[in-house]
């Protein structure tokens, strides 16, 4: 069985949306879960957070940043193209209940990953404040979609080209100081999640982060996705991907993410040579 791309849309120079036919995944998807796909027979398995899902039509979509070989290759595909493998949903769903006031913080493509979570939080009667950040205005994705479903939206850009100038932790700090927040959920680059957790810790606000680690199988077989939570080894794929942000050792994790950096560059070069 192959998996058909039903929609493909570039959001800016790097980010794009892919919607695929994956009925098994769509049927069981819950916010916070991810899938693993392989483009072709020689492809690697890459984990991607699911940003939206239509169980009736059997469709799931993801927002992806073209950073490495596989994501670049994926960005070149179009509606009608076939992917060799998709498996999921993987990982544990987000815990969704009525918490009260929830601040959701998203960075980069993590903004889109927040979308189903925010939707579910709203459905459970939470007051949701969303802070989303990007390097610049053109890198900001999924703003309108998020805006539509949350109660308050704050936008930041590193260069000040749109919204507040600066990083997401600034408005977060302000909110934490000004009102009672029951929970913070952060999805985005590791460094952003690290500082979100740092910001909320002194306020004692429970903070959930969604980790995107090195993965192969996504089913608990390889241990490549291991993280240390409070010093205890956990597997992101089956114990996560969400963990208590105050217990995650981010530095260690960022280091592990760099393990294949050299190889990734080599793969990219090889790929570019081949496409020329």
């Amino acid at each position: 069985m192959k998996y058909k791309i039903t929609r493909k849309e570039a959001l800016n120079l790097e980010d794009f949306l892919v919607e695929v036919e994956a009925p098994l995944v769509a049927k069981k998807f819950k916010p916070g879960q991810f899938l693993i796909l392989r483009i072709h027979e020689k492809g690697e398995r890459i984990p991607l957070t699911i940003t939206d899902c239509d169980p009736k039509k059997g469709l799931v979509s993801m927002i992806i940043k073209a950073v490495g070989k596989t994501t670049s290759e994926l960005s070149k595909l179009d509606k009608g193209d076939l992917l060799t493998d998709i498996v999921g949903p993987l990982g544990n769903p987000s815990k969704i209940e009525k918490f009260g006031t929830v601040v959701c913080v998203g960075g980069g493509t993590g903004i889109a990953c927040l979308y189903p979570i925010v939707k579910a939080l709203k459905a459970h009667g939470n007051h949701v404040v969303t802070i989303i950040g990007a390097r610049s205005k053109d890198k900001l994705v999924w703003e309108d979609e998020i805006k539509e479903i949350c109660d308050e939206l704050i936008v930041t850009t590193d260069d000040g080209s749109y919204g507040y100038k600066g990083v997401v932790t600034k408005p977060l700090e302000k909110i934490l100081k000004s009102k009672a927040v029951d929970k913070v959920i952060a999805i985005g680059p590791m460094i952003m999640m690290k500082f979100v957790a740092k910001t909320t810790e002194p306020h004692g606000v429970k903070t959930v982060v969604s980790l995107n680690t090195i993965m192969i199988d996504g089913t608990g077989m390889c241990g490549g996705c291991r993280v240390f939570i409070d010093g205890k080894m956990k597997f992101t794929c089956i114990d996560g991907p969400e963990f208590d942000g105050h217990k995650v050792n981010f530095d260690e994790l960022m280091n592990r993410l760099s393990m294949f950096k050299g190889k990734e560059k080599q793969a990219m070069k090889h790929y570019e040579r081949g496409t020329k």
Binding site: M1, L24, V25, K27, K28, R38, K42, G43, E44, R45, K69, T70, T84, D85, I86, V87, G88, P89, L90, I216, D217, T219, G220, M221, C222, G223, G224, R226, F228, M233, I238, N249, E252, N255, R256, S258, M259, F260, G262, K263, E264, Q266, A267, H270, Y271
Partner: protein
């Protein structure tokens, strides 16, 4: 003195210097002349201990007789009766502990090379396109087989022969389980695994890839939709020692190392996309088959020095003799009587070495092997840039966590009765999911046994 049995016909192999640069099979396999000569060594002893010690009770003597008579097809059909995957078991069974070890010839010389005979006839049949022929009397009952490794394969084949509608579920993108992701191609060529799996499809087993029971289909849904279930989910979860430094880059579980190499073909990077970083000096912790596999893969990934770090001695290694032999020939260095105490790293977060404590052997433990005892204050360090932990594995939590109704022991191993029935009616289990990590052939035997139990369970109603 009469030379009964003579000496074993030498197995031609890839020369060491060449084979450490590729992932092709190390042994070439017998040719027709050789295989007949080797089969003729069999003295056709009355009691055939080889058969008694075979976990699937293969009719070895009859098979050997046919080979000796050059009746390869008949030999193949005899093997197939009891073993759906002879090409695989012939290559990966621990023959020295089973058939070949108890062969009367083994007292003075090597036993008959039963593994290689078995592999020969299976390969021969594959090349000739000869398969077993049987008539399937279709039944309507549906059976789900979870997992497509050795236990699942043998169970599925037998269930089809009984006539059941069999659907096999596999979480990964390729079927075969440990045969696919675990055992390297130089030991078990992948075309052989693919062939055996294509046979499954040919006889009508519906193989569903990328389908995780528990995630995609709830176990309870499965129970509603199928008349019986076989769980052959194996022992796919890696164990880590739990010492300082396991977060370091360059530290792998043997599972990760082997999955990258075998399933994802990282040895062919960047042609294949999945990378692997393997340094010049590699330490593999453990001395079982998986450790040997990882060590020999490391060598083929251009490592300069590969060490097996083992707390006992070579003699106690649970690996197949042939694997230890091949590893030694290839230059793998055994460091015995040592046990890791922590891993050392640099400021960039990469592993740079390992600290080990010296051990001595004490009294025999439950496994019948001497217990390694740590010698106080004997720690020393060794320079390494890749560490692979091959400490064994346990059943995967993913499936079990989603099926809390299944009874298991404290190691996560499913509890079954003598018919391989779990605590739930109609749900059976076998292979590493109930043993926690054994051999392909034991799993295969249990798959077959479970198929029989399922048949009994399902046919009760119709008066059979």
């Amino acid at each position: 003195m009469v030379d009964i049995g003579g000496t074993r016909v030498t197995m031609r192999e890839q020369p060491v210097r060449e084979r450490i640069k590729n992932f092709h099979s190390v042994p070439f396999g017998y040719d027709e002349k050789e295989v007949v000569a080797e089969a003729q060594r069999c003295i056709m002893c009355m009691h055939a201990p080889c058969e008694i010690y075979c976990p699937v009770r293969l009719k070895i003597k009859a098979m050997i007789r046919k080979i000796a008579e050059r009746k390869f097809k008949e030999a193949f059909l005899i093997a197939k009766e009891d073993n759906p995957i002879p090409a695989i078991t012939g290559r990966v069974c621990p023959q020295e502990d089973q058939c070949e070890g108890v062969c009367p010839l083994a007292e003075t010389e090597n036993g008959v090379n039963i593994g290689k005979l078995e592999a020969f006839i299976a390969d021969w049949a594959m090349k000739k396109g000869i398969t077993e022929e049987f008539y399937i009397e279709e039944r309507t009952e549906k059976v789900a087989v979870i997992g497509s490794g050795p236990a699942g394969i043998s169970c599925a084949v037998d269930l089809r022969k009984f006539g059941y509608q069999v659907t096999m579920f596999e979480a990964l993108h390729e079927a075969g389980g440990v045969l696919q992701y675990g055992i390297p191609a130089f030991r078990l060529p992948k075309d052989i695994v693919d062939y055996e799996l294509s046979y499954l499809k040919k006889i009508g087993v519906d193989i569903q890839l990328n389908n995780i029971i528990g995630q995609n289909i709830r176990f309870s849904e499965l129970r509603e939709n199928f008349d019986a279930i076989f769980i052959g989910t194996g022992a796919g979860a890696p164990l880590f020692i739990g010492i300082e430094g396991e977060e370091l880059n360059g530290v792998y579980s043997a599972n990760e190392f082997l999955i990258r190499v075998n399933l994802m073909k990282a040895y062919d990077f960047p042609e294949h996309d999945t990378p692997i970083v393997c340094g010049d000096e590699v330490g593999v912790i453990g001395a079982g088959n998986v450790a040997m596999d990882a060590a020999r893969c490391a060598l083929r990934l251009n490592a300069k020095k590969v060490y097996i770090l083992y707390r006992r001695t070579k003699r106690e290694s649970p690996a197949r003799d042939e694997e230890v032999q091949h590893a030694l020939e290839e230059g793998i260095i055994f460091k015995e009587l040592i046990s890791p105490t922590r891993m050392l790293g640099n400021e960039k977060g990469w592993v740079t070495g390992i600290e080990l404590a010296k051990m001595r052997l004490g009294e025999l433990d439950k496994s019948g092997r001497p217990r390694p005892i740590k010698i106080e204050d004997s720690e020393f360090t060794m320079k390494l840039d890749t560490v692979v932990e091959a400490l064994g594995s346990r059943p995967n939590r993913l499936f079990l966590d989603q099926s809390p109704e299944l009874e298991r022991n404290k190691w996560g191993v499913l509890v079954v009765d003598e018919n391989l029935n779990t605590n739930i009616r109609g749900v059976f289990a076998g292979g590493d999911a109930i043993s926690g990590g054994a051999t392909v052939i034991l799993a295969l035997g249990e798959g077959r046994k479970a198929a029989k139990s399922i048949h009994k369970y399902l046919s009760k109603g119709d008066g059979k």
